[in-house]
Symmetry: C2
Subunit: 600 residues, 2 copies
Amino acid sequence: MPQYTPPVRDTRFVLEHVVGLDRHANLPGFAAATPDTVDAVLEEGGRFVAEVLFPLNQSGDLEGCTRHEDGSVTTPAGFKEAYAQFVESGWGTLAAPEAFGGQGMPHVVSTAFQEYMISANMAFAMYPGLAHGAIAALVVKGSPEQQEKYLPKMVSGEWGGTMNLTEPQCGTDLGLIRTKAEPQADGSYAITGTKIFISAGEHDLTDNIIHLVLAKTPGAPDSSKGISLFVVPKVLVNDDGSLGERNAVSCGSIEHKMGIHGNATCVMNYDGAKGWLVGEEMKGLAAMFIMMNAARLGVGLQGLGVAETAYQNAVAYARDRRQGRALTGPAQPGEKADTIFVHPDVRRMLMEAKAMTEGLRALCLWGALQVDLEHSAASDEEKQLSSDLIGLLTPVIKGYGTDKGYEIATNAQQVYGGHGYIQEWGMEQYVRDARIAMIYEGTNGVQAMDLVGRKLAQNGGRAIQTFFKIVGEEVAGASDDAAVKQVAGALGKALGELQAATMWFMANGMQNPNNVGAGATAYMHLTGIVATGLMWLRMAEAAARLKAAGEGDAAFLDAKLVTARFFAERIMPDAGALRRKIEGGAETLMALPEEMFLAA
Amino acid sequence: MPQYTPPVRDTRFVLEHVVGLDRHANLPGFAAATPDTVDAVLEEGGRFVAEVLFPLNQSGDLEGCTRHEDGSVTTPAGFKEAYAQFVESGWGTLAAPEAFGGQGMPHVVSTAFQEYMISANMAFAMYPGLAHGAIAALVVKGSPEQQEKYLPKMVSGEWGGTMNLTEPQCGTDLGLIRTKAEPQADGSYAITGTKIFISAGEHDLTDNIIHLVLAKTPGAPDSSKGISLFVVPKVLVNDDGSLGERNAVSCGSIEHKMGIHGNATCVMNYDGAKGWLVGEEMKGLAAMFIMMNAARLGVGLQGLGVAETAYQNAVAYARDRRQGRALTGPAQPGEKADTIFVHPDVRRMLMEAKAMTEGLRALCLWGALQVDLEHSAASDEEKQLSSDLIGLLTPVIKGYGTDKGYEIATNAQQVYGGHGYIQEWGMEQYVRDARIAMIYEGTNGVQAMDLVGRKLAQNGGRAIQTFFKIVGEEVAGASDDAAVKQVAGALGKALGELQAATMWFMANGMQNPNNVGAGATAYMHLTGIVATGLMWLRMAEAAARLKAAGEGDAAFLDAKLVTARFFAERIMPDAGALRRKIEGGAETLMALPEEMFLAA
């Protein structure tokens, strides 16, 4: 049956040698993140998710959520009790502001824990995960009264939170929103409309759910510039903080989905529900992006988290299942057959998964550090640099991370052969769960367009130039270790491909923006390879340095160096192909009339 | 709701201009395949599957199969009636030998129809599909008595057929088989053992099911050289052809799977069941490969078939769903938003699907032609050439075809955004169904090893040299049309990468066979790109020639030329990356001790 062990040793290595947590100890929040504290979070948090949440992952998938006639929703057996333990333990409050009852730890530490929670039970992790997005918006845009009223109980986990954007006719294009907000005499608004695909929209885990809802006020322009954000509690909250009347919002149905069955994806009906404006009227898009950017990084982490569990199980199966003989002769001659681990093509899938999950872990944590630094770095220059980096990397972590997460989960399933296709082995669930991460919070195509259409051009290309400079300098400054040199050489080459692709966009995008759109996904993947490659260069540097100094676990460091080289040999070659595809441009892509697509 | 239209126009184009059906009219079987007859098969057969089988595809997935306490299995509602129509119409008998009641048409014509049947309902198509494998083995290896007893009713579809290879401890490595066959005084054998993953092992569509079962006779060697093939009918057949007693074989359970829910995947228990040897004792492997090679081509066709339906629906959705505006300004200014077809990244997914499905269709049909020619070509040289080609291409069609089929289905689902993840839209089923094709009848890793470990080396590399020669000559002889020249240029380059990779294997495989195993999957994909590229060169040549002559539908021919160029620009660049990965060799792949795979 499936298993999961939090990769604490690897997380610690990344926090120490890629993120460099100790170098930031002088900053607010980081002071509390002493090595001992972080170790305790990783060890104890990891134990909690492995022992409490992981055992509910497969059963939650099989049972799913149930909506009752009165509109209430029951989560799978065990979720309610596990959630109560989660709240009690405080694992959800790690990075929340101390002012609202959080622990004020760096975002990067919380991110490390969140990866484990996703690995253990993605559907469960989404309940507090969605609340985090709502908390982020209220922390930045909520009025002091709203913050006081909602945040302490949202931070503690007593209340849930959601993001209500999508409507039947309106997904990416938020200008199409029809939900209406009519101002009332008491300063509140009456919210009316239908929202779909609302994760954790209704459930039995908390006494209240605080919905953040995009809607249009009367006379607002018919575009995304006309939308406002509202806070709409499921149960109205009295001035003394006690729960009052039920609000006019209810779950009309829950979706039957390919995966994440343990999370209730709801159609939410707002029928003149009482809501309050968050921030300014018609500035809802900016507030929404606060939620959205946090959510996109969280979804990128889902790609990694699910892939990690799938990978771990594939390794275990490959060490256990016997079939055939090694190409070089029987490896276990006393047995009737060798374990399938001996087969190079099985190892290929496992090494790709190892190289990608460890690389993505470093990238997600390095990205999380930028979220911390953009707010708390010592100088404005450093804040701007981190803000530029995380703006650039958010669509990459989301899009590249989840495309790769799905690929890894699919390969891990493949290692199981026929058993991978059978429910009871648990592997097909990881593929179904991983699939949604490529779609929601902006499809990966939308991420790619965000990267090439917005992030590349902002501030005269400052962010990508900063990224080129960082990668270029680390490549140029690579140490003499043979493995490091190999990785640096491959990364330098991949950087060259990315720079050439960027130049091609600049030369060809003005005359026809479709030339940029046509290469968007390839560019996102190319950037992902370079960014993950940078992480591997750093890991290789650290491993070589520690090894030379006789520090650390030699076997672990050797594995890092081999895996870094594998990444250079087996993943980075895609960079050249991606550049060539980008340089194919838009012509053949856009040439066919729509009616000629079907050959029938 | 999902839709499907058989791509008759494209099939006809391929049969005429890539397969060159009319050039083989002098051969047995082909004489009957006049253009009118073939047209009737495509039109009428296509109508049958679209009207009768496709409406049961989604409902069959939702309902699945049910095993009852007595071991009987009920297929989803409507399957039994549809199967009766299928038998009555004779669509299953197209390519079966006339001696046993078949129509004796070329395999290539039957393959064209089978693609449509898979597209309409893959789970349904597997019932007659598995019987075809069993028929193929009995036609070649069965005794005259066995053929007379079983084949007419199997060919007509009155009786089903299965392939029983896998056991709990034994998948790819058939030497591990434990099922026993004890010789009986009457010349029969008593078969005892458990087989798993038996598609169509038990169902309510037919009165009888003829199982072909691999088992070991007493004293047989403990390897794949010790296995024999047996025919084991579910119901014993009397000498007059009437049904007799129930045999001691039964369905112990059915699997809960990720997809193909409409097909019953059974655990089959043989409890001293009466069976008869097919062919010679301990020559079961050769007989099994007859079934297996037919099945592998059929599975490759599943990759194409499911991808085609997914693609068609994605095109329809992209023409209907409105979201955002074209990068070049509103395309449909009278509407609140443009259809998502205007977005380059949506078109990218659709063009990739179009280029791959049309390319794979040509490759599957050209491969099917080789199956015909290896038996019926006029000269021994031609027979050998076709036999070499289909031996080489079978693992490529299966492995590359199904990897791409899954990718296309996933991308088609992606076009739907969030709706793609919801069951009722039907897209997630295609992904789940397509997934199994990468696993069964030999995982795609096994296909890759078959290609590089067996097919490359056989007869001193004759098959791959023949393939190089064909591709090289068609590239060299490419006409002057600009599109053709572009495709030929890209194909020539990809061929160069494949030749270099082959040389690298020759230079590095002897010293360490893991160097070949490490590049096996990349080599299979590289061969797939070149083979599909050859198909696109032929289609481009034909389109350019017809266009210049003022023949055919100009819009259709223009679409072929654009899509051929797209394939050259957007798919072929992967060839270089694949070669570089192959040249990475086995070192880093095999370097890590197993226990260092987990970083935990």
